[in-house]
Amino acid sequence: MLWLCLHFSSLSIELREPRDQFPTAVVDRQNSRRHVIACNKAARQAGIHPHMDASTALTLMPSLKLVDRSRSQERKALQALASWSEQFSSFVTLDAQRWLLWIEIGASLHYFGGLTALMEKITRGLGELDYSFATGIAPTVEAAALLTQHADAAPVYDQQAIKLAISALPVCLLAISPTAVDAFRDVGWQYIGEVLNAPRDQLARRFGPELTRYLQRLLGELADPREPYRTPSTYRRHLELSFAIDTTEPLLFPLKRMLGELQGYLRARDTALQALQLTLVHEKQADTVLQLGTTQPQRDAQSLWLLLREMLEQTELPEAILELILTVNQFVAPNNTQLDFFDDKSKHEQSWSNLLDKLRARLGTNAVKHMGLQDTHLPEKAWCVINHEATDKPAIAHNSPQRPLWLMQPRLLHTLPALLGKPERIECNWWSGDDVQRDYYIAETPEGSRWWLYRDVQSAQWYLHGLWG
C-alpha cells in the first residue's frame, strides 16, 4: 500500500460559497474559548491566523466577520472530494474531524504514468475545484497524514524508511492529545525520534496503550484497516450557501466546483449522464427545480456548466436562494467517441448535439424540434415532432399529393379567392366517430398569393389551411 494523504487545512473557510469578499474567519468552540480555525485571504492579510483567540482576532480587526464552524458542511465537502478522488483509486478513505483524505495510489501509479504524472493530475484537478491542500505520501495511513504537516517532506515508499523520515519532526505534529504532547515536553522530548527511541513498555505504562498502538500503526508494525469511502449509487451533493443570494449569477462559482466533483465521480465509474437536476432551495417558497437533459451522454464539467448557465439565465427566482442540491439519479454508458478519440464525423455530431443542448437549455427543451411523418390522411396529423434526431433512414414521401410548404391553424374564410383546379377529397376518422370530410383546393388571391384551403363538407364552411410558400 502507498497512501497519498491530502490535508485540507482551510476546508472550513474554503467550502463557503459564495466566497466571502470581506475578512472572514471560521471559529470553533472549545470549552468556553472560541478560536479561529481558518480564515480567508483578506483576514490573513490583516494578521489573523488559525489558533488565534476569537477575541484577540476581533481586537486586531474589529470588522472581522466570525462564522461558526459547520461540521456537517465539512463532512459533505470532504465526501464530495472523496467521490471525486475515486477516479484515481478504488480505495479512498477520509477523516472529516481532521480534514484528511487518503487515496491508495500504490495500485494505480503505473496506470497514471508514475507519481509525478499522477500528482500533476491531482494537483490540477484540486486547483480547478479551488481547494488548497497539503500532501503526504507514505506506506501507512498515519505516516502519510503526518507528512502533510511538513512542507517539503519527500515521499516515503518503504516502511523501513518511515522512522528516519519523521524522526526530526516536532512532537506536536503527532495525532495525539495536547496533554500527551505537553507530557512529552515535560520529559524533555522535542522530536518524534526521541519518542520512537523510548522503550515501548515504558511508553505504554506512562502514556497509556492508546499511544503505543498509534505509534505502531504509524510505523506499520500494526495493521491499520480503514473503511473505504463508498459514494452512494445515486449522486447527491448538497450545499448550504454561506449567505442567501437573490440572483442566479453568483451560483456559477459553486456550480463550477460541484460539477467538477461530479466529473471526477463519473470518471471514477466510467459512466456518464444524460439528465441532472439542480434544486434551488428558498426560505419560504417552493424549491426552484431545473432539469437538464442532454442529447448525448455527457460527463464534461465545463459543458454541463455552460448548459446550466444558459438555464439559470432564463430562470426567474421567486425568492433568494439558501441551498443548492445537485442530483443525478440515472447513469448511462459514456459515448467513448465523445470522450477520447474523435473522428471528424463524430466530432461534428458531438458539437452539433452540444450546440442543440445549449439552445434547449436557453429556449426550453421543446423549442428545438426535429420532425417526422405520420401515416394519416388528415393534413394536421400527418407529421409529428420527434425528440431526438432521427438516425434511421431519411423519411421521404413518394408519390404523395401536392402539399404546401406552410401549414397553418385552419382559419375561417368569409370571402373566397379564385379556386384553381379540381378539389382533393380528404376523408378520415369515419371509424372513430370523429368524422372529417374536406375538399381541398388551391386558390390564388388577386395579389398573387397562393393558398391551400378547404371546404368542410358538413358545415359547408371554408378554411385557409396552408400557403404555397
Binding site: K358, G364, H370, W383, D392, S400, L405, S449, W451
Partner: protein
C-alpha cells in the same frame, strides 16, 4: 501555375475580396436558377454572408426559391435550420420537395431576440448548411451581429423580413425583394455588394 492564375485563384477563394462584378470572388452556392445566378456576386448565393429576402406577401414561392440550393446541402449531410418561421414548415411538403426530414431542425424561439441569438450560435458553429431566420428587427447592431456570425461559419444565411422593411437600411451583403408576377416569381436584387441592382423573372414549380 502562372502567377496571374495564382492571384486569380487567391482572389476567388478569399471571401472578403471583391474585385468587380465579373471577377466577383466569393464562395457561393448555385441557386439553381441561371437567371438568378447571373445577378449575384460569385454567381450564386454567397456563403458566410447575410442574404436578406423580402417577400412582399406570403404564399408566393418564397421558400420554393431556396429549394434547389438546399437539396444539395442535405445530400452533403448538412442541416437546414428554420428559426422562428411564421408558420409550420410542413414536413410532408418538405419531404416531397427533396429535403429529408432528418436534416431539418426547427427552432421554435419565443422572441425575436432569442431567434437571433440561436441563429448566431448556429452560424458560429459553422456546421449548418443553411440558416433560415425570420426576424423583423430594425436594430442595425443586431443585423451586424448576424452578419459577423455568418462570416465566422460557412453557412448560407437567409434572413426573411416583412415587406414593411423594404426601405429600411441594412448591412446585408445581398437584399432581394420577391413578388408574384403572372404565375412566376419576380426577383429583384435591390442591393448587392460586388454586383449591381437588377431583376429577373423566375419560373418556380407552381402547383395547379
Amino acid at each position: 501555375m502562372q502567377r496571374a492564375d495564382v492571384i486569380a485563384n487567391l482572389l476567388r477563394t478569399t471571401p472578403d475580396v471583391w474585385s468587380g462584378r465579373d471577377v466577383a470572388a466569393t464562395h457561393s452556392r448555385d441557386t439553381g436558377f441561371a437567371a438568378l445566378n447571373a445577378l449575384l456576386p460569385g454567381h450564386g448565393w454567397p456563403l458566410s454572408s447575410l442574404i436578406e429576402l423580402i417577400p412582399l406577401m406570403e404564399g408566393i414561392g418564397e421558400l420554393q426559391l431556396l429549394l434547389p440550393a438546399l437539396r444539395p446541402l442535405c445530400r452533403e449531410g448538412r442541416d437546414i435550420v428554420f428559426i422562428r418561421p411564421p408558420h409550420l414548415p410542413y414536413p410532408p411538403a418538405l419531404a416531397t420537395a427533396g429535403l429529408p426530414l432528418n436534416r431539418i431542425i426547427w427552432i421554435d424561439a419565443q422572441t425575436d431576440e432569442a431567434a437571433r441569438w440561436s441563429a448566431e450560435q448556429i452560424l458560429r458553429e459553422g456546421m449548418a448548411g443553411a440558416v433560415l431566420l425570420w426576424s423583423d428587427t430594425t436594430k442595425d447592431i443586431a443585423l451586424r451581429r448576424l452578419q459577423l456570425a455568418a462570416r465566422e461559419g460557412k453557412s448560407l444565411l437567409f434572413l426573411y423580413r416583412s415587406a414593411s422593411l423594404l426601405q429600411a437600411s441594412s448591412p446585408a451583403t445581398v437584399r432581394i425583394s420577391l413578388r408574384p408576377q403572372a404565375g412566376s416569381l419576380h426577383v429583384e436584387v435591390i442591393k448587392s455588394r460586388g454586383g449591381k441592382s437588377a431583376s429577373a423573372q423566375l419560373q418556380l414549380y407552381r402547383v395547379a
